[in-house]
Symmetry: C2
Subunit: 330 residues, 2 copies
Amino acid sequence: MKRNFVTSAQVADRAGVSRSAVSRTFTPGAYVSPEVREKVLLAAEEMGYRINRLAKSLLTSESSLVAILASKLSEPFIAAQIDALSAMLADRELQTLLLNSGARRDMAAMMNLVLEYRVKAVIILSGAPSEKLVEQCLKSRQRTILINRVQESGNVDIIQTDDRAGGRLAACHMIERGYRNLAVVREASDTPSQRRRAQGFAEAAEEKGLTVRHWLGGEGGYESGRNAARELRMRSAVDGVFCTTDRIALGFLNTCRFDLGLDVPSEIGIVGFDDIEEAGWPSHALTTIRQPVSAIVSAVASILESDPSEISGHAHVVPVELVTRQTTRP
Amino acid sequence: MKRNFVTSAQVADRAGVSRSAVSRTFTPGAYVSPEVREKVLLAAEEMGYRINRLAKSLLTSESSLVAILASKLSEPFIAAQIDALSAMLADRELQTLLLNSGARRDMAAMMNLVLEYRVKAVIILSGAPSEKLVEQCLKSRQRTILINRVQESGNVDIIQTDDRAGGRLAACHMIERGYRNLAVVREASDTPSQRRRAQGFAEAAEEKGLTVRHWLGGEGGYESGRNAARELRMRSAVDGVFCTTDRIALGFLNTCRFDLGLDVPSEIGIVGFDDIEEAGWPSHALTTIRQPVSAIVSAVASILESDPSEISGHAHVVPVELVTRQTTRP
DNA sequence: TCCTATTGTGCACACGAGTGCAGATGACGC
DNA sequence: GCGTCATCTGCACTCGTGTGCACAATAGGA
């Protein structure tokens, strides 16, 4: 497996100069005479020379790698975040080390890897890691950015959408549109942010004197929504449902419409959370709480640009917004 | 930005042994006496020592990084591939370097990066790179795996779904179900694999004496589908449409149903390609050509495991399959 | 007791690059 | 012609790790 890459020494030989000259040619700011530079560039071109970034960052102890840790990469909202984040990183000349923590893979091992690669920072997307791992990061003075995850033990940068406000918005909207038998549905893989959304919803509803039924279960967003729809409708006369994720909501919506033959929004109203692309399609036209990816990404960017020594530890809050479509009564 | 990580020398000091002993403790296969191993592990634990993978792979010149190069990361079929690929890599103790080549980013610069990181292999997902770049890879003896991209200049590993067969399948199916005024729709960012699908479709239709209208344009899959639906229907009496991508097909479908008020499948039939999750939802129930991600991934796996010296250069063909749902007449 | 076999450890070098410092080279002025 | 300065280049050290080789230590046998 040992491929022979071209080294700066080989280029130096060919160009008839010293290795230092080669190094300086490729180091912005360092000085070389135009003639030497010319010779070096020519030789490098001919031999297909490329700097070895491993060696470079070993020496300068500066890595341009940023790790993104996530599970369920193919869920639209996660995929959208990864897309936007990696684009933002690329614009800043940083590279993305993607760690898929899905399924049975060992999270501890993944984190070890992050540390072994001496990455500049780790971005942990919602739903992924255990508390112990985050502590491990901190212990190794690894810069850590959490998205939509609470973490009590300080010194981590946290970006959080305003989940409670989102839940409250959903509740107010449904009540205003005349729904009275409310329920909230979330996945079995119960993340803190889903819990906060549910709390916000229940809170606001109870302030108006309504009680809220809770449903929890299923495997994966869409399937959870399907199961919830079947079971909730069987047992009760729920007429307004808040799903803590658009994918749950879409599962719920489709099952209501196509399996149970219910009319949405007249017989039952549905509100989701995230505003993924599919929610806006006319085949769904889901009323939902928008969580802007761009705001999350720019928060990450500003953290990366801030001074790493002053670890803020205070949370950036991303605002949410109600998007009214056609799964709630006009 | 210079963080001080713990080095093996520091651990050795603390444990009162030589640096070699530390190295051997963490190298499987190397021998150390149990007592020394114990001491080293203890010291390492206390100090939070982690191997520096950069230094290690510099020395052994073996990288455990595999780069994935793709654009439009958030499109479901791309996201699904990235998810599955990164999971497969993780199972093999390899890491994923994700390069987002979307938008205006400079592909040449991206490829340079790949080469600078001395990755074990590059996986290029459909639609991404120009021919020159691939040649550049080859010149640097970089192992390159192309997915759904043709490349004449040999020595690359190619994985290709059987696009033509897929197109033919779609055509036969539509003709069998009684559609006669056929059209094929593809995106403006016209990838080779989309072109092959269209060719297969047109071929099969013409063999049965039918002519096929071609439509090409739009920006992004879903939007292309929407535009196509509006324009095609305006100008002609097309009644059977093959979209070279599920996302195009879904845009087409939704526009037919909700904007033009057409009944699918009785007035117009639609067939897609890929079989993304959303295609199977009852809100769409799209008839489509399935392209199994699992087959693609295991082909990549087998290439990675094969001997790198015998660069096969011969293409792996991934079979396709018709999935009949409700956007074509029964 | 002495020799040999065995076992474990440490020294030193290598990987590929950046950079401080000294020294070479050339130009220029007196 | 000689001294001074500016300009460039090369030597040698450094980063953190793996590993061949030589050597120390210990045990075992004659």
